[in-house]
C-alpha cells in the first residue's frame, strides 16, 4: 500500500490537514503526524483505554478508529479539553487535587473517559463510577483516587 489520502480533521476546534495512508489509525495520526502526543498508546488493540478521545462528544478508542473515519466529526483530545488560556477543565483539577495518577501515562485517557462518564450520567454511586471507568486500566493503581476525583467533579457539575 503506497497511496496516501488527504484528510481534513477537526481536532480541538482547529482544522488540521494531513496526508496519510488510509490504514493510519486516529491514534497514530495524532501521535506520529500531528504532534498531539497527549493521547497515549498502551496496547493498540482496544484493551487499555489509554487512547481515549472524544468524537462528537462521545468517548472513542483512537487505536480502533481510522483517521479516515472521523473526517467531518469533532475530535477532542486531552490537549483541547480545557478552554484555551492555560486553565484546567474541572475534571483535570480534580485529578490533580486527588492525586488520581502516578506515572501519568493512563491519565489523559482516564480524564477523557471521566468527562464522558459524567456527561453520560454514570456517576450515581462509587460503584457505578468504578464500573464505567473500568475500560481504562491504570497499572500504577490510582483507581481509588480516580473514583474520588470523578465523584467530586460530577458533584460540582450537577
Amino acid at each position: 500500500m503506497t497511496g496516501t489520502i488527504n484528510l481534513k480533521l477537526d481536532i480541538n476546534g482547529r482544522s488540521r490537514e494531513l496526508a496519510v495512508e488510509p490504514r493510519v489509525t486516529l491514534l497514530d495520526a495524532l501521535r506520529e503526524h500531528l504532534d498531539l502526543t497527549g493521547t497515549k498508546k498502551g496496547c493498540d488493540q482496544g484493551q487499555c483505554g489509554a487512547c481515549t478521545v472524544h468524537v462528537d462528544g462521545k468517548r472513542v478508542l483512537a487505536c480502533l478508529t481510522l483517521a479516515a473515519q472521523v473526517e467531518g466529526r469533532a475530535i477532542t483530545t486531552i490537549e483541547g479539553l480545557a478552554d484555551g488560556d492555560g486553565g484546567l477543565h474541572p475534571v483535570q483539577s480534580a485529578f490533580l487535587e486527588h492525586d488520581a495518577f502516578q506515572c501519568g501515562y493512563c491519565t489523559p485517557g482516564q480524564i477523557m473517559s471521566a468527562v464522558a462518564c459524567i456527561r453520560e450520567g454514570h456517576t450515581k454511586s462509587d460503584n457505578e463510577i468504578r464500573e464505567y471507568m473500568s475500560g481504562n486500566l491504570c497499572r500504577c493503581g490510582a483507581y481509588s483516587h480516580i473514583v474520588a476525583a470523578v465523584r467530586e467533579a460530577a458533584e460540582a457539575a450537577s
Binding site: T37, A50, L137, S144
Partner: protein
C-alpha cells in the same frame, strides 16, 4: 530536557516543605497531555523499526526470507541474525563482566518463544508493520522446556548464597508437637506498565542520543556505550517521564540495541516501539515460583522450626534469582531455621524484577503457612503473629532500626474491626455470599546507594535542582522540590526540578525503593551547601547590605534574607543577588564516602549496583513493614471472589509527602489484589508460548475490582535508615496482599488456595 516547576494549589504553606501534602508538581503537565514521554520526542527524519519475534521456543534460525519485505513500500532495512552488527558484551548490572563473546541483539540461536529475531525499518510505522508481516523465518527446532511443570525441568541449580540456616531445623521440626508442611506456588507475572517499552535512537558521529523510558539512565547509558565501544560520555539518555516501570525499565534490552544499530546503519533517527503482545517476551517479569514450607510449633503456637525449599524458573541465558527466603528469614522469631533455593533454567525470556522481587512470593509462602498453623492449633491469626513477633532480626541477630509492625497490627485491626471476627471458616455470611476476614504482614528492606545532586540559586531568586534520577510516578520531582524549598528557604513554587537525563549529575537505579531516600539526602546536602554559600556572601561580600553589621548569621525564609533581630530591612534573594552582581550560586554534592570519590568507584556507583548496601550493614537491620486486613466476599455457588474492603497499616518511616506516598501504597495494594485474583501468564506446553500476551487475556485489576482501601501510616522517622528518616515505600505495599486475600478466602470458604491466582475453579 524537562523542567518541572510546582504550579499546583495546595492546602497551606507548610505543604511546600518536606512532609507536606503538596500535589505533584509534574501533575499539570501530565493531566493536560503536555508531559512528553521519551518516545514522544519529535524529531526530523524519523524512521520506524518493528521487530519479528520467534515462534519456536528452542533451536536456530535457519534462514530468513526477507525478499517480499524488502520489496515492500517504504522499507529501508531488514536486520536478521545474518547481518546484525555484533556488539561488544556489556558489564552486567551487578558490575560483573558480561557473558563471553559478542552481544547479539538478534541471535541465531533461539532460546525462547517470542525472542526478537528480525527487525524491519521503514519510512512509516504502518509500512514497517506491514513489511514485518511478510518476513518468513525458517527454524531448526530442538527440544524445549516450557515451565516448572515440564517433566524435563529437573531439579535445577542450587544457589548457595541463598542458603540461610541457624539452629537445627530438621531435628526441631521432627520433634515439634505441631507440624504443617505445604507447597505454595506463584505463576509467571508481568510488569504491564501501561507505557510499553520503546526507544528513539539517534547518532551524530560517534555520539549516541537515546530517548528511552528508563528507571536508570546512567546504568543503561553504560550498556550502550560498552555495546558500541564508545566512551560513556558519548551516550546521552533522556527519559523525562516514564509511563510506569515496576522494575522492568532499569536495564538496556535487545530492542534498544536493534534501534541503535539501525540508526547507525541508516544515518537516521529510528523509533522502535515494542507492541503490547511483544512486551510479554521482550523482557521478563516475575518468574514462576514454588516453595515448600515446613513449620514446627508448640501446641500453644510458638514456632520451633521453619524449613523452606524454594525454586524459581530462569532462562537458558541468564541466572535470575527470586529470593524466596527473604521474608521467611526475618518475619518471625524462630530458634531453628533452614532455607535453600534452586533455580531451574528453561525456555523463557530471562525473568526480571517486578515490584518486590523475592519479598512478594516469599511473603505469600510464610504468611499463608503461619495462617495454616493458626487454624491447626485454633488460635487467632493475628494473635499467632504477635506471639512469634521478632524483637530483633532473627537472621542477622542485630536490632531493627525501627519496626512498627506491632503498631501496624494494632492500628490496622482497630480500623478494620478485627475483634468482631468469628474464628471458624464459613462462619460469616451475607445471603449467598461467604464472608472471610484475613490478615497478613509484609516487609521490604531499605537499600542504600550514594547519590549526587546539583542545586542552583539564580539571580531571580528562584532555584533549580538537577539530577539524572527519574520520576515514574513515585513523586521524585515533587519531593526533591520540597527538600530544596525547605533547606533553601525558597517557596516551593520557585523551585524547578530537572530529571531523567544522563547529562545531569548522576543517580543510581530507581529500584529497590531506594531513590527517594538517597536523592532527598543528596539534594539536602547540596541545598545546605548552597544556603551556606548564600549566607556567606550576605555576611562577607563587599557589596552586601549586611556587611557592616558584623553578624555571624542570617535567616532565609520565604525567599527573603533577614537579620536575626531586625537590625536591617529584609531583602529578597533576587534583590540581594542583583545587589552583589551574582548570577548564580551553584553547588554540586554527592553522598559518596571519601574513599569512593575516585573516578572508577564513582562510575561504578552510578552505573552498576555494586555499591548498594545491604539492609544489615551498619549494625541495624533496616526494613519497612506493613499489615494488611482484608474482607472478601465469595459467591457460594459460583466461587467468584471479590475483595470488598481492605485496611493496611504501613511503616515506611518518615513520609516526605504523605499524599504521594499513600498513592504508591494504594497502587501497590491494588497490584497485589490483581496478583492474588487475576494475574497469570499462561504458557502453551507445545511451544512455550505465552498465550495470553495481551491486556484482554492477561488480566490486571480494573477500577471495578477495587473496593475502598484505607491506608494508615504507622512509621516514625528512622535516621539509621536514611538521612531524612524515610524507609522503603514503593515495593512494600504489595508484599503480603496476596496471602492476606488467600487467608480471607480460607476463612470464608474453608478452602486453602496455595497457588496463585485464586480463581473460581480452585474454589469450587
Amino acid at each position: 530536557m524537562t523542567f518541572v516547576t510546582p504550579k499546583s494549589k495546595h492546602g497551606d504553606a507548610s505543604d511546600g516543605n518536606l512532609g507536606g501534602r503538596l500535589s505533584r508538581i509534574d501533575g499539570p503537565e501530565k493531566i493536560t497531555g503536555r508531559a512528553t514521554y521519551a518516545i514522544e520526542h519529535q524529531i526530523e527524519g524519523l524512521v520506524y523499526a518493528v521487530t519479528v519475534q520467534s515462534t519456536i521456543a528452542a533451536g536456530t534460525v535457519k534462514s530468513v526470507d526477507s525478499k517480499a519485505a524488502e520489496a515492500s513500500p517504504g522499507v529501508l532495512l531488514v536486520l536478521t541474525p545474518d547481518n546484525i552488527t555484533h556488539l561488544k558484551s556489556a558489564t552486567t548490572w551487578a558490575g560483573t563482566p558480561g557473558p563471553e563473546g559478542p552481544f547479539l541483539a538478534l541471535p541465531k540461536t533461539v532460546r525462547f518463544n517470542g525472542q526478537h529475531v528480525v527487525a524491519v525499518v521503514a519510512e512509516t510505522l504502518e509500512q514497517a508493520t506491514a513489511a514485518a508481516a511478510l518476513i518468513k523465518v525458517s527454524y531448526e527446532e530442538t527440544e524445549h522446556v516450557y515451565g516448572l511443570e515440564d517433566p524435563k525441568a529437573g531439579e535445577g541449580v542450587p544457589i548457595d548464597p541463598m542458603t540461610k540456616s541457624w539452629g537445627d531445623a530438621e531435628t526441631a521440626f521432627a520433634e515439634a508437637p505441631v507440624r504443617i508442611e505445604q507447597e505454595y506456588k506463584t505463576p509467571r507475572e508481568y510488569n504491564v506498565a501501561i507505557e510499553p517499552h520503546g526507544i528513539i535512537a539517534q547518532w551524530e558521529g560517534d555520539k549516541l542520543t537515546l530517548w528511552e523510558p528508563s528507571q536508570w539512565v546512567d546504568g543503561m547509558a553504560r550498556s550502550y556505550a560498552e555495546w558500541f565501544g564508545i566512551p560513556f560520555e558519548n551516550v546521552r539518555m533522556i527519559s523525562p517521564y516514564i509511563g510506569g516501570g515496576f522494575g522492568s525499565k532499569a536495564l538496556s534490552l535487545p530492542h534498544g540495541a536493534v534501534a541503535a544499530i539501525a540508526a547507525r546503519m541508516l544515518g537516521k533517527p529510528v523509533k522502535l516501539a515494542v507492541t503490547r503482545p511483544q512486551t510479554f517476551t521482550a523482557y521478563g517479569g516475575r518468574p514462576a515460583t514454588r516453595q515448600t514450607l515446613a513449620l514446627g510449633a508448640t501446641k500453644e503456637g510458638k514456632l520451633l522450626s521453619i524449613i523452606q525449599h524454594g525454586v524459581n524458573e530462569t532462562s537458558k541465558l541468564g541466572m535470575a534469582v527470586e529470593p524466596l527466603g527473604s521474608v521467611t528469614a526475618i518475619m518471625y522469631a524462630v530458634p531453628n531455621f533452614s532455607s535453600r533455593q534452586n533455580v531451574i533454567p528453561l525456555n523463557t525470556v530471562t525473568p526480571g524484577a517486578l515490584r518486590a522481587p523475592g519479598e512478594n512470593p516469599s511473603a505469600f509462602g510464610i504468611e499463608s503457612a503461619i495462617d495454616e498453623l493458626a487454624y491447626e492449633i485454633g488460635m487467632d491469626p493475628l494473635e499467632i503473629r504477635l506471639l512469634n513477633y521478632a524483637e530483633e532480626d532473627p537472621h542477622a541477630k542485630i536490632p531493627w532500626s525501627t519496626r512498627q509492625l506491632r503498631e501496624a497490627f494494632a492500628e490496622g485491626a482497630k480500623a478494620f474491626g478485627w475483634s468482631k471476627r468469628t474464628p471458624a471458616p464459613r462462619s460469616m455470611r451475607d445471603g449467598n455470599q461467604l464472608i472471610g476476614w484475613g490478615v497478613a504482614a509484609g516487609t521490604y528492606p531499605v537499600r542504600r546507594t550514594p547519590g549526587e545532586a546539583l542545586v542552583r540559586i539564580l539571580a531571580d531568586g528562584t532555584a533549580e535542582v538537577a539530577s539524572s534520577s527519574i520520576d515514574m510516578g513515585q513523586g521524585t520531582y515533587t519531593i526533591l522540590a520540597q527538600t530544596a524549598a525547605e533547606v533553601l528557604g525558597i517557596p516551593v513554587d520557585r523551585i524547578r526540578v530537572k530529571l531523567g537525563d544522563s547529562a545531569l549529575p548522576r543517580a543510581p537505579v530507581a529500584g529497590g525503593s531506594q531513590l527517594a531516600n538517597l536523592m532527598t539526602g543528596a539534594v539536602h546536602k547540596a541545598a545546605l551547601a548552597a544556603r551556606e554559600e548564600l549566607i556567606g556572601l550576605a555576611l562577607n561580600h563587599p557589596n552586601s547590605p549586611f556587611l557592616d553589621l558584623q553578624l555571624n548569621t542570617l535567616t532565609i525564609a520565604d525567599g527573603t534574607i533577614s537579620t536575626p533581630r531586625g537590625e536591617r530591612a529584609d531583602i529578597s534573594i533576587a534583590d540581594f543577588m542583583q545587589h552583589i552582581g551574582q548570577e548564580k550560586i551553584e553547588t554540586l554534592r554527592d553522598t559518596l564516602p571519601e574513599e569512593k570519590k575516585n573516578t572508577v568507584d564513582r562510575y561504578n556507583n552510578f552505573t552498576t549496583m555494586m555499591a548498594m548496601k545491604s539492609p544489615t550493614e551498619g549494625g541495624y537491620s533496616l526494613h519497612s513493614w506493613c499489615a494488611h486486613f482484608v474482607e472478601v466476599r465469595v459467591d457460594e455457588d459460583f466461587g467468584t471472589v471479590r475483595v470488598s474492603r481492605m485496611v493496611s497499616a504501613l511503616d515506611s518511616g518518615r513520609l516526605y509527602n504523605p499524599k504521594l506516598a499513600e498513592s504508591q501504597w494504594r497502587g501497590g495494594i491494588i497490584m497485589g489484589i490483581g496478583q492474588a485474583l487475576l494475574e497469570e501468564g499462561i504458557i502453551d506446553p507445545r511451544n512455550a508460548r505465552v498465550i495470553n500476551n495481551n491486556l484482554g487475556d492477561y488480566l490486571v485489576a480494573t477500577n471495578a475490582d477495587i473496593p475502598d482501601l484505607q491506608v494508615i501510616s504507622v512509621g516514625i522517622p528512622d535516621h539509621h535508615a536514611s538521612v531524612l528518616g524515610g524507609k522503603a515505600v514503593g515495593e512494600l505495599p504489595i508484599v503480603g496482599v496476596a496471602p492476606a486475600i488467600a487467608n480471607a478466602v480460607f476463612h470464608a470458604t474453608g478452602k486453602r488456595i496455595r497457588d496463585l491466582p485464586i480463581t473460581l475453579d480452585k474454589i469450587l
